[in-house]
């Protein structure tokens, strides 16, 4: 009996301190402990877990965070005047202030919720692996691929579309290739992802992990000849599906002079620096 009263007194003390903290920091959810502890009926108070602490990690400085500039900010090589890109970037930053578009790469697993007038709840959510990122500026798109009920589904989302309500990165990683179109001809296990996948934690300072998985393909014919050197895919296990003669035959389409052709070289390092600074300045406004 005495123990009970002591515990009740302790609880009341805790509640008083919590109420004080509550007034100082409105972010806390109401505990409802005072409400139930003072209850007169004989039932024991319903257990409500304590509020989760808010962790603010001040150990890592801003300088050590990974610098990332989304590729659609970098304008393609063209004769368009710079004004169009400046204005477009302003609009992109405006949209980013409203909707958080996280950092992701081809090969990361994303979940996108989009407004849909014909879905119940008016939103539909799709989870998939990002196979391509195309376009630049406001029209930038990314394609998510998943296999649902045995049917492969690829959905192309526009990053800055107002219909998109949330983009969540469930697993942040890179792959060996910039373009994962070959997953269409790979075994289905490489493209199936659970819709209820839990987001995996990722480190904001370390380098993005590269998933070096080499994908096993279905037997030929494929939708495109992925072994040809113009694709230069590293992420396919050719040794399991092609003979060395076929690999050599594919090399006939090799163009070894292409990497030395200086007309095709486009160095974007300085452009990236300038655009990164501009975007950071705009975001902080």
């Amino acid at each position: 009996m005495a123990a009970c009263t002591r515990r009740a007194a302790e609880v009341l003390c805790l509640v008083r301190t919590l109420r004080q903290i509550q007034h100082q920091n409105e972010r806390f959810i109401s505990t409802s402990l005072p409400h139930l502890a003072a209850g007169g009926d004989g039932r024991p108070p319903k257990f409500t877990p304590p509020p989760k602490p808010v962790i603010v990690d001040k150990t890592q400085s801003e300088a050590s965070l990974r610098r990332f500039l989304s590729p659609e900010f970098i304008a393609p090589r063209s004769r368009t005047s710079g004004l169009k890109f400046v204005v477009e970037r302003k609009d992109m930053v405006q949209r980013r202030k409203v909707l958080n578009i996280p950092e992701f790469y081809v090969g990361s697993i994303l979940a996108v919720s989009m407004k849909d007038p014909y879905a119940n709840g008016k939103t539909n959510r799709f989870v998939g692996i990002c196979t391509q990122r195309k376009g630049s500026g406001l029209g930038a798109t990314f394609i998510l691929r998943n296999i649902i009920d045995g049917q492969g589904v690829e959905i192309c989302y526009e990053m800055y579309s107002p219909r998109i309500q949330a983009i969540e990165v469930l697993k942040l990683e890179k792959r060996l290739d910039e373009n994962l179109m070959y997953l269409r001809d790979a075994l289905p296990e490489y493209s199936t992802f659970d819709f209820d996948m839990k987001p995996a934690p990722h480190n904001p300072t370390a380098d993005v992990p590269i998933n070096t998985v080499k994908v096993r393909m279905k037997p030929k014919p494929w939708s495109k000849r992925w072994e040809r050197p113009k694709f230069n895919f590293q992420g396919i296990r050719f040794d399991l599906c092609l003979t060395p003669e076929q690999m050599e035959h594919a090399q006939k389409w090799a163009q070894p002079w292409l990497e030395f052709d200086m007309m095709r070289h486009h160095d974007t390092a300085q452009l990236e620096e300038a655009i990164y600074k501009e975007v950071q300045a705009e975001l902080s406004k």
């Binding site: 063209s78 030395f260 200086m262």
Partner: protein
């Protein structure tokens, strides 16, 4: 249904079509570029000179990185078919253009070729070459009447300003 005529429309294409195909074009430009690096002034058709001008300047940009740079050495090794020109590129041409940033070449048109094809010819050279200049500085004729009068006027002015202070 294909809605674009890729074969006929060439919007934004910078590279000319030369020779028998892309490989042939690159090989031809390689030979001309090697000749340019060896002789520092060459004479070809206007179209080839125009293409090689771009590649010649980009090669100098790569050479400026230095011969310790892996990428620069690979590019120079590819573009110069005669390997005794590699030291010349890195040790003579790159230091010559250290202070310039863009224009390392001059191109001037020549009279059309005497052959049946009457092809438009051009001469392409690296600046700082030992030959007499392509665009010599024109001196006005001092013995015309007006120039003599002006010369006299300038001398009088110099005398007056010399005697005054």
């Amino acid at each position: 249904m294909r809605l674009t005529l890729r074969a006929l429309i060439s919007h934004g294409r910078v590279a000319r079509r030369m020779g028998l195909g892309p490989e042939s074009r690159i090989n031809m430009l390689r030979n001309i570029l090697t000749g340019l690096v060896r002789h520092e002034r060459i004479e070809t058709t206007w179209a080839r000179a125009d293409e090689v001008q771009f590649y010649a300047e980009k090669l100098i940009d790569y050479a400026k990185r230095g011969d310790t740079d892996e990428k620069a050495m690979q590019m120079a090794n590819f573009w110069l078919t005669e390997k005794d020109l590699l030291p010349k590129l890195f040790k003579v041409l790159a230091p010559r253009f250290e202070n310039q940033s863009k224009a390392y070449t001059y191109m001037a048109r020549l009279p059309n070729r005497e052959n049946l094809d009457r092809a438009a010819m051009a001469v392409l050279e690296y600046k700082g070459n030992p030959f007499p200049p392509l665009f010599p500085a024109k001196r006005e004729n001092e013995l015309t009447l007006i120039n003599q009068l002006l010369k006299g006027y300038r001398e009088e002015r110099a005398q007056l300003s010399g005697s005054k202070p």
